[in-house]
Symmetry: C2
Subunit: 241 residues, 2 copies
């Protein structure tokens, strides 16, 4: 039952950046510290990368609202999880509570937040606080420009088809391949086929304790890697004034 005198809460999608807790923005830190309710996705072990990154800004007065997202290839399962989560979040918003949803990287870049936003935005106020997306975290670590003035730049994910990844590698100067974990063997094969293996860099867990950076990916085993991994492919020869 909703209290007629109560103002609706606001649903905030807050980006916490690629991993280093110091790469949270001032705005995200402020919103997380003041939030009444903190919401985030957890895996089967109850772990949340985004909550870990935001840890220093949480406070014990906050209501904690983990959403369990099973790893599944079936979109109907994900959809049902988002339906239930949106319902639970709307109940809190209707009761006048602001809800901060923590997102790794940037909320609107290959993230789950979009699926909640579409389910909530017609009924409640929503705000989005951008975060450092992992391609930017990765290029800063490598100290290599993601893109220079006249270059073409694109981002694709390991979930795209072989042909889409091949075309991107053939046509773009700079290309980031996100969510490279399960797709790693096929990505290494496509990098060889398009003659860009020597131009590729591989990073996992950017800014975390278990960070790994490999600039010679020919040494990388053709095995499945972790979810938080990506490839950055950059031209060897770059126009520099």
């Amino acid at each position: 039952m909703s209290d007629q005198n109560k103002k609706d809460g606001c649903f905030f999608g807050v980006g916490v950046g690629p991993g280093d807790p110091e790469l949270i923005t001032l705005k995200a830190a402020r919103l997380i510290e003041r939030a009444q309710l903190i919401c985030y996705l957890v895996n089967a072990d109850g772990d949340s990368q985004s909550r870990t990154i935001a840890q220093a800004h949480l406070n014990p007065q906050q209501i904690d609202m983990p959403i369990y997202m099973p790893m599944s290839a079936d979109p109907a399962i994900g959809s049902a999880v988002y339906d239930d989560a949106a319902q639970a979040i709307k109940q809190q918003l209707g009761a006048g509570k602001d809800v901060v949803f923590l997102c790794e990287g940037d909320p609107l870049f290959f993230g789950s937040f979009a699926y909640l936003l579409t389910r909530i935005e017609d009924e409640f106020p929503c705000e989005v606080i951008p975060g450092i997306a992992s391609p930017h975290g990765a290029s800063a670590k490598l100290k290599k420009p993601l893109t220079m003035l006249k270059e073409s730049y694109g981002v694709i994910s390991g979930r795209h088809s072989d042909e889409e990844i091949r075309q991107a590698l053939l046509n773009l100067d700079s290309i980031v391949i996100m969510k490279a974990g399960r797709a790693r063997p096929k990505i290494l094969k496509l990098l060889s086929e398009t003659n860009r293996l020597h131009e590729a860099n591989y990073l996992e867990y950017i800014g975390r304790e278990n960070e790994r950076i490999i600039e010679d990916v020919s040494t990388l085993p053709h095995e499945v890697g972790p979810y938080f991994s990506l490839f950055i492919v950059l031209r060897d020869e770059r126009a520099r004034t």
Copy 2:
């Protein structure tokens, strides 16, 4: 003359985000506050967008080192400015001073910092602190996903050729066109030709007082706009689970 007992300074490229001073990261704020020397580009009026964004974190003890970058189509002029600037920065680094170079958005994304980095990195330690790039600032403002799971995403600039922009508009689901100021008339024409005018959004001075957001770009005059402007083109129909 370099002091043999003195440790070299470090050259930091620090992203200050797209415009809202609260979108600076905790790390950038800390480095700016502690820097001995702050360096940034200025236009003919002595104005610097990045310094304005970082204002709250500057302190009067810091040495201020503006670099005047003339607006010119001649790459030789830009190159000479970077040569001189790199020389001046290296002198400070050799004297043991850390230098923080302020960058709008992200330092390694369509930015000037890359041209300084290549001139300095072989001789002195360098670090890069990523910032929120303007496509992410823009999509957060619009509250529209920059890219969803199966979509293709790319970024191009108004400096690219008509044909390159046309191909990007034809082939990519989500496309951001940066540095759209002088190229605005040609971009509007290409959006019409590729039948994507209705899918385009236009933003200028994101997060600043003079911010403008136009979601119906057919109302936009076919005139040259400001340097800090961009188009985001997103599919009308998007796959949503």
